[in-house]
């Protein structure tokens, strides 16, 4: 059996103020999977992602990325991951080209390696005409493209997308869906969080629903969406929504 792309075992995260963001999450995502990670706001999705990528320090549990401990061997583990965060954590005065180029540099890519990769990403996400503008001058959709390009610059094996299509128009959403499906076909493992259930249903083959810091339900898309009411009902039941909130 091959090493999973991501293996989380009994992850727990308690913030300094005592807030328990993640109670106990265990997940295993095989290489090449397109995995949907759903849950209401405050369920612990982003905190889990932050623990995987090094933005947050896990309080307990173990995270392995392609078999590498994400805490002890964090440098080796991080080489394999690309993160597109929910918020724009970007120097607002930098240009899209600088932002993506610097990230490539942090990951040890030489200038000769970065140049063709940046040219491809700028073209792919239609950032060419905006490459010299300051990030703060860009529209919401363009900003989202920049952080996506930044996540992909070092060609990571595991791509983590935290609500990547939040606030973007339908056109870009579809461009993005096509691109994600394509790189997943090429072998990239993708972990996607989204509040758009249709997006998850369209892209993901396996889904976990988290609620109150725990995995409330996990299964294949067919299991989740195949029942009456589809994925939405499965989601509402798993997260303990009131019966009158359940779709007719």
């Amino acid at each position: 059996m091959s090493v999973p792309a991501l293996a989380i075992s009994h992850l727990r995260k308690v913030y300094r103020g005592g807030t328990v963001a993640v109670e106990d999450i265990s997940l295993t995502i095989p290489e090449g999977e397109f995995f949907g990670f759903l849950g209401p706001n405050g369920a612990g999705k982003s905190t889990t992602i932050h623990c995987i990528t090094g933005i947050a320090e896990p309080t307990g549990g173990r995270i392995e990325i392609f078999g590498i401990d994400a805490v002890k061997d964090y440098r080796e583990a991080r080489r394999l991951v690309g993160l597109c965060p929910q918020e724009f954590n970007v120097d607002p005065f930098a240009t899209p080209y600088q932002i993506v180029d610097w990230m490539g540099g942090y990951f040890g890519m030489t200038a000769a390696q970065r140049k063709p990769r940046l040219d491809m990403l700028m073209e792919r996400f239609e950032l060419g005409p905006h490459r010299k503008k300051q990030f703060r001058e860009l529209s919401g959709g363009l900003k989202r493209r920049v952080v996506l390009a930044r996540a992909l610059v070092h060609d990571p094996k595991l791509i983590i997308l935290d609500e990547p299509t939040a606030g973007v128009d339908v056109e870009l959403r579809r461009v993005l869906w096509r691109y994600l499906a394509e790189i997943n076909r090429d072998g990239k493992t993708i972990l996607l969080t989204s509040h758009y259930l249709e997006e998850v249903e369209r892209l993901c083959r396996r889904i976990a629903i988290v609620d109150k810091g725990r995995v409330a339900r996990e299964g294949s898309k067919d299991e989740m969406a195949g029942g009456p009411g589809g994925l939405e009902q499965a989601y509402l039941v798993a997260t303990g929504a009131e019966p009158d909130h359940v779709a007719d």
Binding site: E57, R79, D91, Q113
Partner: protein, 263 residues
């Protein structure tokens, strides 16, 4: 990039160089704040204390008053440049959250610290050299020992760069960020022997100079520039290196714990 480690001796050199490039770019966005402001401030000090006031003061230790105060003016600006560069860089990157770019990257704590500090030292050295050139214009610049001059500028800027990182990590508001400058850096540098020797102070006040680290920095640089040194040989250098080790260790520990960086 997956599979292309590109590290030698375990150091991500390209990552480190990229950090330096990014910080240089950020610094060069505000050239007036970074360089022109300290140079104008130094020019005013040179003019007022060197000419207006200095013209009425007899020589100190065989040196013109302007020659005597110039090392102190250089050091004050080196300290300010170093502290402001590192504290504002760390605080701003935390405030805007783009510090997360480096947290998710395969960079070690030492690389993150070294990347920021390199630009701190560059800014401080450039600021100091600019003031030296002004001194040349006023016929007051001497550097008796370039190695010692560089030792003092580089080591003191590293000390205040590290201190700036600690303050930048600790601060939760812009007001907190400015507190050390208002309450410690400016007062201590002013009474640290920029304008006077220890001998000129009343006996009961001399302990204050000996207890003030700025005194050793200014005195050390003055020794390198005009050969006027009031401390036993090696004392200032030893104290500065000790400070560097202590502050370097503290900053590394804070990074390793994720203080102010990680959630």
């Amino acid at each position: 990039m997956t599979g292309s480690t590109l590290t030698k001796m375990g150091v991500n050199w390209i990552g480190l160089y990229t950090l330096v490039r990014r910080e240089m770019t950020r610094m060069m966005r505000v050239p007036i704040q970074a360089f022109i402001a300290p140079w104008i401030s130094a020019l005013l000090f040179i003019f007022i204390f060197g000419f207006v006031v200095g013209g009425r003061i007899s020589e100190i230790g065989g040196h013109r008053y302007l020659e005597f105060v110039l090392p102190g003016i250089v050091m004050m600006n080196v300290v300010n440049a170093a502290f402001l560069q590192s504290s504002s860089s760390i605080y701003f990157s935390r405030f805007i959250r783009f510090i997360e770019e480096t947290l998710v990257a395969p960079l070690s704590y030492a690389e993150m610290i070294a990347g920021g500090l390199s630009v701190v030292v560059l800014r401080a050295v450039f600021t100091g050299i600019g003031i030296l050139l002004m001194g040349v214009a006023f016929g007051a610049t001497q550097v008796q020992s370039w190695p010692l001059f560089l030792f003092w500028v580089v080591s003191v800027s590293a000390v205040f760069g590290l201190l700036g990182i600690i303050v930048g990590l600790w601060s939760k508001s812009f007001e907190q960020l400015n507190m050390p400058v208002v309450f410690f850096l400016t007062p201590l540098s002013m009474v640290g022997g920029v304008f006077n020797t220890v001998q000129m102070l009343p006996d009961w006040l001399r302990w204050l100079a000996w207890a003030n680290p700025f005194f050793y920095f200014i005195n050390g640089l003055r020794g390198a520039m005009i050969g006027f040194d009031e401390t036993p040989p090696g004392l200032g250098e030893g104290l500065t290196l000790l400070l560097l080790v202590v502050l370097g260790g503290t900053v590394w520990r804070l990074y390793a714990k994720g203080y102010g960086l990680r959630e």
